[in-house]
Structure formats: structure tokens, C-alpha cells
Symmetry: C2
Subunit: 316 residues, 2 copies
């Protein structure tokens, strides 16, 4: 019996930036993930029946009758990989927020998301390099040829260097992984600032010392970010958190969250985000380290490079 | 008379990473934009009537009766900035893909998107530093205190160093801006590879030389990316494009797009993305350089760091 009512993974499309064709001969290529995604949801069924639905239509089959045919060739080839490990059928719902004819790596994105969802359903674990090697098997089964650079971009995200011989994926511009946890309440910044002023009315030197300690954290954090040293950035988070506690802006809910998060091995550091006495704490750690800590308070966010943007031009 | 039927801008929320409180005293802070956005659409009206709609409700007023009151205090304060420049009313539709109570900079995001849409409606131009300084005016009018670091993150995106005295925004991890243009057709990678093999059947040395030229482009591109030298990366794009043409994978539609794009001053380089003989070209250039080149073929994408991702935990 599956342990969950549904399983859902999403993967981004991709754009090849440099190295096309030569990549097939073993040379490196540069590929990046883009902010258009495909989501694959798996709903377990009691029998061995399989239903696939997407914008391309609906298709019915069974675990015992898997034949790799369009338009679901990548999906069915992925299912075939796990044929012997699967004991139950399922409904796979595929949703894309971009058109498949644009050449933005939709086949790779759907392959990667299917493999992830099937691996989790079959309780096999979703290790990125494993998803990549099985994605390459699907790619070769379905289209015979292809570097798999788009698979790697869909799995790892960002801007990556990719080569097939030996298979190697290197992030070119690393960004830290952040995790946010909501403390359950909110206090306006102005009120927090007023609270601090009152508390430190007769202790101005102490207050200035705390501000300076926070400023040192920011300056050293900037250096850590430029060096992509996320472990160090985490230590700096912890140091600023000490200063936030001295300021008196850490309430019980924030403190409990911080105590819970900091115990996790894959977390480098955690602190209040914003003025305090409410809102969220922000943690820094390994990819995927956050979602299992406190599912109720976890807010899945990612850093985006896309700031203010005119929305008048729309995708297809 | 406004020149368009509607105007639409979106801006991301933000998370403060380091430097809270000290930032108000002039020290630097580190803040990042997150992948939850607020979109503001402005539909011009013939009279001086103003309608505001959002998840918070609907509010009716007039250009002649603007009073800054919740729940639309940031929006109305932004409109008041342009009171004298606006001759017509409008309907502002505000849509957020995240909850406003989480402390993820929703006030800053809505302020920034409103200012942008109003500036474009009033034909004043949407310069980022101008949007920031007017955002700070709104912030001070509405809440009296606040660093505006969240405004800067909403405008510039990414991970930034922010300080208020003197006002300065510095991107900490720059990513290149890419623009994609669809050529109108598609050819499967396997077919393109077969085509190349046939064309170079008796010219194997020549083919190897082209592959090596492409490989050199990829290697040099990796160095350019690590140095965040997007002008150089653009030149490398152009060099790989020459190799793609030698490979015979550039058709007329791709060539016409490339000729059109490369003439633009704000574009550093442009090439076919992927195996060629169809799909897209990818350009690299300044922010905002792409959308006016070829609106029909333009596909707005951004590089994302978010790869394969479990979707089972959902926001709120």
C-alpha cells in the first residue's frame, strides 16, 4: 500500500546556451533551467490500471500492457523502468505552463518529474544523479540520440556545465537554498521599532553595539555570498540571531521554531527574517533540507532573479 | 488618451537575510526576491473614476477624492504621487500568489508594481531607481518608518546588498538576462543529427573542426559566466552561431530572427538554441532589451535556480 494519497513533483524546462552538437561527442555544454515548469501528480489506484492525462489528451493502459507510443512516449518509457517494482496502478496528471512545441525541454522536464514521482511512489528515493541516469535511459529508449543536457538542467536548475563522458554536472552560478517558516503571528515593523526604542531608552550604547554587531554580520554575509560559502553564511545567520535576541525581538513562537530547525544536520543556520516579534524565520541549508522539519509552518520559496517585470507580453 | 487597452506589471515578494534594524541606521543589509509575485493590471477608464480590486475586496473612489486608508493604503498613496499627472481614471486589478500576512514583502511588491503601472500609464517611463525613490516616498507616507530594502528586492530581483545612506543597491550574484524567440517551426534533434551526418559524409575532418570550435565556445563561455562578463558571453554566442551556420543547421527563419536581433544596441549576442533547423534563438543582453524586438516571436523566460522539486507541500 502506498503511504500517501498523492505524490507530486515539478521540473523546469531548459534552454541550451552553448555547446550544441559538440556535447554529443563528449565536449562540455552550458544549459540553464527556465521558469516554466511541468508538474506531474500521481494518485495511487487500487488495481493495476494506469490513466495518463495532460493537455495532449487522456490515455488508458495497464501495468501489464505498457507499450511506448506517442504522445506519452516519455512517460510510458519512464513507467516501464519501474514496471517490476510497481504493484499498483495510478493516475498520472501532467500539467505544463508552457507549450511543448517551443523546444524548451518539455520532454526532459516531463521525464524527470515522472521519474521522481514514480521513484517516490515505489519508495526508491529521489537522488538527483539517479534521476539523471534513468532519464538518460528513457531518452535513449524513446529517441535514440540526445545529450541529456536538458534532463540535467531540469533536475539541478540554474546555469550548469554538462558533459556526458564522464557524466558530470557542475553548477556555474550557485545560489543558496533558503527555507522559510511562519511563526503564526505578525507585528508591524513600526511597532517593533517603537518597542526597541522603549526597551533601550536608558541603554543607548548597548543598542548601538547591537546594531554594529548586526552590521558586521551583513558585511561578512556579503563576503560569504560572493564566495558561495553557504556553510559560513549559515554561521553568520546564527550570529545575527544572537543579536536579534539581545534586541528583544525574538518571541516564544520564533524561538521554538529556531530551536527545532537548528537541530537538523542539513541546516547551516537559522534566524528571524525581518524586524521580529512575528512573521518568519529563514534557514539556510542543503537542498531539500527544509520541507520535512515543520510541514505545518514551512513556506516553500526560492530566490528569484526576476524583479519588477512588464507582464504585457504573454507566453503563447 | 492612453495608448494601450491595459498596462500590467508584476513584482516579487522578498525575504530579509541579514542586517535587520541596523539597516535603518545606514548600515548595509542583504535581501532577496522570492518566487511569489503580485501582479497589478491597470485598465484605463473614460471618466475620473477609480476602482481597486484585490483579494482584500473592492474599493471605489475618484481621482479627485484620494484618501490614504487601509486596506489599500499603499496603492492609494502610490496613486496620489501621480494625481496631478493623471487625467483619466482606471480600474486596478491586484492579484497575489501569496498571502499578505506572512511578512514576505507583499506591501513592497504591490507598491512597486503599482508605481510601475502608473508611471507607464502616465507615460513617465519605468526607471528602476526612480521606482525605488518613489516607493520610499510611499513607504514613508504610509508607515513612517522602514528601510525600503524590500522595495529594492522587488524591483531588482535576486540577492542584493542594500543601504539607505547613500541609497545604493548592488546585486550580489548576477545572472545574465536571456531572451528567447521562436522561429515558428520544429525539427527533432535526431533528424537534425542525421542531416548533419549526411551533409558531412565525405568531410569528416571539417565536421570535427566545427565540433571543436563549438567546444571552445562552451569552455570560454563557462569562464565568461564565472566572471559574470555578459558582454563577452554575447560575443561567444555570436561565435558559436558562426559554427552552427557552418554545420548547416540555420534555416531562413532562424537567420532572419538573428539578423533582426543582432542589430539592437542592447543585445550582446544571439545564436540558435538547441540542435537547430527550427525551435528558438537565444539572445543575451541588457534587462528589458528583448521584449520590443519581435513581440510576435518573443517568449519571456528567466533563468530559474529551482530544479526538480517536490510539490506536496503547498503555500497556505
Amino acid at each position: 500500500m502506498p503511504s500517501k494519497a498523492f505524490y507530486s513533483y515539478s521540473a523546469p524546462g531548459s534552454v541550451m546556451l552553448l555547446g550544441e552538437h559538440a556535447v554529443l561527442k563528449g565536449y562540455p555544454a552550458v544549459v540553464c533551467a527556465i521558469n516554466n515548469r511541468i508538474t506531474v501528480e500521481l494518485i495511487p489506484q487500487a488495481d493495476r490500471h494506469i490513466t495518463l492525462t495532460s493537455a495532449l489528451g487522456e490515455f488508458q493502459t495497464s501495468l501489464d500492457k505498457l507499450v511506448i507510443n506517442p504522445p506519452f512516449q516519455f512517460v510510458i518509457a519512464a513507467i516501464k523502468l519501474y514496471e517490476e517494482k510497481l504493484t499498483q496502478g495510478f493516475h498520472l496528471k501532467i500539467q505544463a505552463d508552457f507549450a511543448s512545441h517551443l523546444g524548451l525541454g518539455s520532454s526532459a522536464a516531463v521525464t524527470v518529474a515522472c521519474i521522481a514521482v514514480l521513484r517516490e511512489f515505489a519508495n526508491l528515493g529521489v537522488l538527483p544523479m539517479k534521476v539523471l541516469s534513468e532519464g538518460l535511459t528513457v531518452l535513449k529508449t524513446v529517441q535514440g540520440v540526445g545529450s541529456g543536457a536538458d534532463l540535467a538542467a531540469s533536475i539541478f536548475g540554474g546555469l550548469i556545465r554538462y558533459q556526458i563522458d564522464p557524466l558530470k554536472v557542475t553548477p556555474l552560478i550557485p545560489l543558496p537554498y533558503i527555507g522559510l517558516f511562519y511563526s503564526g503571528s505578525k507585528m508591524l515593523t513600526a511597532a517593533v521599532i517603537k518597542h526597541i526604542e522603549q526597551q533601550f531608552r536608558h541603554r543607548n550604547t548597548e543598542l548601538i553595539n547591537i546594531y554594529q554587531a548586526i552590521a558586521v554580520c551583513a558585511e561578512e554575509g556579503i563576503v560569504a555570498i560572493k564566495e558561495a560559502n553557504w556553510q559560513l553564511l549559515g554561521q553568520i545567520f546564527n550570529r545575527q540571531q544572537v543579536a536579534m535576541e539581545k534586541l528583544g525581538v525574538c518571541n516564544q513562537a520564533l524561538q521554538q521554531l529556531i530551536n527545532k530547525i537548528i537541530q537538523q544536520k542539513a541546516i547551516f543556520g537559522v534566524k528571524i527574517s525581518g524586524s521580529g516579534l512575528g512573521d518568519c524565520v529563514v534557514a539556510i541549508g542543503n537542498q531539500g533540507a527544509f520541507s520535512h522539519i515543520d510541514e505545518q509552518n514551512y513556506i516553500p520559496v526560492d530566490i528569484t532573479t526576476k524583479g519588477l517585470k512588464c507582464e504585457e507580453t504573454r507566453l503563447c
